[in-house]
């Protein structure tokens, strides 16, 4: 009988169809995705500065694109990525200093990172509009 050889019902490998990534894992991959997104965003920074050097016409073209609904959408996504990556990056630096590895601390930090990134994003756009 199975019960004779298996006294405790220990967890088996995650069943892939019902397994849900822990929040910590989701934030980890999000740090990487936002890092890649921010790198692409540097192209936007480049366009802005180069347009500034080329003169008024190119600068206004850049402004027109950026203030269009699509430009604003991209800018909003960029701000979310920046604030998430910034807040989670700071928590990474705490990890590097050997702090915050307990399960409770990790889960608390997850929520702090998400809350801080949300507050900073909302605050920025309230100031921008």
């Amino acid at each position: 009988m199975a019960s004779a050889t298996k006294p405790h019902s220990r967890p088996l490998s995650p069943h892939l169809q019902v397994y849900r990534l822990p929040l910590t894992a989701i934030l980890s991959i999000t740090h990487r995705i936002t890092g890649i997104g921010l790198s692409l965003g540097l192209l936007l920074l480049t366009w802005w500065l180069v347009a500034g050097a080329y003169g008024q016409g190119p600068y206004e073209t850049f402004q027109t694109v950026l203030t269009s609904w699509f430009g604003q959408l991209v800018l909003f996504g960029f701000s979310v990525a920046l604030y998430f990556h910034l807040c989670n990056g700071i928590r990474h630096l705490f990890w590097d200093a050997g702090k915050g590895f307990e399960i409770g601390a990790t889960q608390r930090a997850n929520l702090i990172v998400l809350a801080a990134a949300t507050v900073l994003t909302v605050l920025t756009w309230l100031l921008a509009i």
Binding site: I36, L49, V50, G52, Y59, E60, L86, L127
Partner: protein
């Protein structure tokens, strides 16, 4: 007791090529942290600046870049930001690209592109700052 000419388990060829050395790795890791720390105050400054420039025109932009503190900080943002991005993208490429040649070529391409774009940004800022 005679010492063996080969004091390590690694082959002489492996040592000459430097494969498996951790020297580069720690430097890369440390540079990623240093640039991350530097980016925290620079990010706060650029967000503040962009908010103050929003809605402004080209003349406002010229005035902003010609302030030496602003031109210095924007150049720092460009240099540190592209350096941090290039270090980070290298790790991502090394994690996902398995072919040796393709990996080396991709990492090299990212590094060259980041260096070129950073130079373009800095020259653009200097042209405006010096009133070109």
């Amino acid at each position: 007791m005679a010492t063996s000419p080969q004091t390590s388990l690694r082959s002489p060829l492996g040592r000459v090529r430097g494969l498996g050395s951790a020297k580069e790795g720690t430097h890369h890791w440390w540079a990623q942290r240093v640039t991350a720390v530097a980016l925290i105050p620079i990010t706060a400054w650029i967000v503040y600046s962009l908010l103050s420039l929003a809605g402004g025109d080209y003349i406002d932009y010229l005035g902003w870049v010609r302030n030496p503190v602003n031109s210095t900080l924007i150049i720092l943002l460009v240099a540190v930001g592209f350096h941090h991005a290039q270090l980070g993208l290298q790790v991502v490429i090394e994690d996902y690209v398995s072919g040796h040649a393709l990996r080396v070529v991709s990492v090299l391409a990212v590094k060259l592109l980041c260096a070129a774009l950073a130079a373009l940004c800095i020259v653009s800022v200097l042209i405006v700052a010096f009133g070109g």
